[in-house]
């Protein structure tokens, strides 16, 4: 790969280097310092969030380690014997269905995937796309992604919540009992 040898490359680099910069702004500086002042207000916040340098030595570190070890030992001794109960390990099978016969790919993103990874839906003979997930009881927001870049609401969902960006996500409530539940 060449490094800036062509005339076009040099011109492009010059455009980028000469691209206008943001003008200095006293208002911006005031805004930042105002935000810091608001965040520092209150002794608790000040104690928690003010930057500080901690000085240490090996004796202090060993003492802190001993205290932590003691605390863990006490907690371990005192912990109650908890029966996780019948609901603890329960998960519910949820089938997500989207009727989109013209799509070439459909996936699913939501709270349960951390929104970053997506679950691919499989095309069915009837033109629908389906995926089955096993979810713990709880409330989840989700959306379908059609052809990798179209985010759409589940048309058959009954509950929605504003996503904070001018759109809405579907909301799925997974009950705390065993059994199948369809979404979409």
């Amino acid at each position: 790969m060449n490094e800036g040898t062509s005339e076009g490359d040099r011109r492009l680099e010059a455009w980028l280097a000469d691209a206008p910069r943001v003008a200095p702004s006293a208002a911006f500086r005031a805004q930042v310092m105002g935000a810091l002042a608001r965040r520092r207000a209150g002794p608790v916040r000040h104690f928690l969030f003010s930057p500080r340098i901690l000085k240490w030595n090996f004796a202090g570190l060993a003492g802190a380690f001993a205290v932590a070890l003691l605390a863990v030992g006490i907690a371990w001794t005192l912990q109650p014997s908890v029966d996780p109960g019948p609901d603890a390990a329960r998960v519910v099978k949820v089938r997500f269905v989207l009727d989109r016969p013209g799509a070439s790919a459909v996936s699913l993103a939501g709270d349960f995937t951390g929104w970053k990874t997506r679950v691919a839906l499989e095309r069915q003979a009837d033109g629908t796309w389906q995926a089955e997930l096993r979810l713990a009881p709880g409330e989840y927001e989700y959306a379908f992604v059609v052809d990798d870049d179209q985010w759409i609401q589940d048309p058959s969902a009954t509950r929605f919540r504003n996503d904070g960006f001018g759109g809405r996500n579907a909301v799925l409530l997974v009950p705390g009992v065993n059994g199948d539940r369809n979404a979409g």
Binding site: M1, G4, L12, L16, L36, P51, W151, G167
Partner: protein
Amino acid sequence: MDRSAQEENEWIERSLQGDQQAYACLVQRYERMVRSVVRRLIVSDAEVDDLAQAAFVTAYENLAHYGAAARFSTWLCQIALNKCRDWLRARDRHRTNIDEDADIEQMEIGDPSDGPEFRAEWGEVDSMLQQALGQLRAGDREVIVLKYVEGHDYETIAQMLGCSADAAKLRSLRARDMLKRILVRMGVKP
């Protein structure tokens, strides 16, 4: 250590002791850099100051973790990059389909063979560059902004992006070629 770096270290030390005026000096020194980087990376003027402000607040709250291994500007720029990445991820998560061809049509302002210097004022060139940057992948946009707009060397870019200097160089050249192709597609031949 030059006088400027020495002064900067003093500001950092005083900020750590709670002197907000000292931190204001750091903000004043780097606000242009941070706001310029953010503007080019998110390609949206509306959010620039909010994200830049968030970067400065995060830097302040984590100042005790700043190590002298990197320059303060490098560390601060890393924080700004992370803010932009978070914002872009959130935006992309909620973005609906965009018809990019419609935007490209609006950018046509004359005969490409004339070159932009003959048919566009600098404001228009900047607008086209911004438009073209917006069509790059976020990672490519980062290296273009850091290398060619902000003028950082490959070692510094490597520190910011967590890669080797060779990788930073390779990515910069590849991203520049990509940007050139996008500009040509928009009717601008560099």
